[in-house]
Homo-oligomer: 132 residues x 2
């Protein structure tokens, strides 16, 4: 934190979620979040956030967040926490654990060094082995 | 900052900019960023950020950020600093002052309590009067 940060206004949203909904052509080597089902899951998240009556939270669609191989992805600011997700159950867990309780869904979190789904799987397996 | 924050991964992007490009029908009372020229300005920002060789910065389009009356708007995370802008000169100043030098463009910054352009104008006038 520098001098500028300390003068910044209070956050406008307590949590601001951006779900990538970018679409690439069929067969593109990187794939795209939309072709992996991002749009209905983003719609579901928005609907559930409203139903839960969460205040100070905004769920937005965004253009390509450039982590296509891990998609669908979202990023939650100001924390800057990234998640890869693939089901309504994943969305429910992110809503309940992160946005309601302020925790983290470790099994879905992406690290800066994660590039491909295999990276995530290997890292999670190593973390689990270390914990046993 | 709580215990969770201290365990979060390092930021994936040093600065992540979201420019609202939402469009509402002609004549909608709130207006919309796209109808106020958001899209070419967002394209310009992306092009200029690339030309400046800025590293670790991502400029994205986003759906409605719900500050339509002040549009076009953008928000820069993780700082959570909002700007209203209307020209390529505004974009250049945000790029140079905020994203290159880490400062703030005070004349374009939006405060949480700003709802309409008149609010911003009145606040800036009061700030200037207080400084004289």
């Amino acid at each position: 934190m520098n001098d500028q940060d300390s003068q910044d206004p209070a956050p406008y949203y307590r949590a601001h979620v951006f779900c990538c909904t970018n679409e690439r052509p069929e067969g593109h080597p990187r794939g795209s979040c939309k072709r992996r089902g991002a749009e209905p899951l983003r719609d579901y998240m928005k609907k559930r956030a409203t139903a839960l009556g969460l205040r100070g939270i905004r769920v937005n669609a965004a253009g390509c967040l450039d982590r296509c191989e891990l998609g669908p992805v979202m990023v939650v600011y100001p924390e800057g926490v990234w998640y890869g997700f693939s089901s309504e159950a994943d969305i429910d867990e992110i809503l309940e654990t992160h946005l309601v309780r302020g925790g983290r869904v470790e099994r879905l979190m992406l690290r800066p060094e994660d590039r491909k789904p295999e990276d995530v799987a290997a890292r999670l397996a190593a973390e689990q082995a270390a914990a046993e």
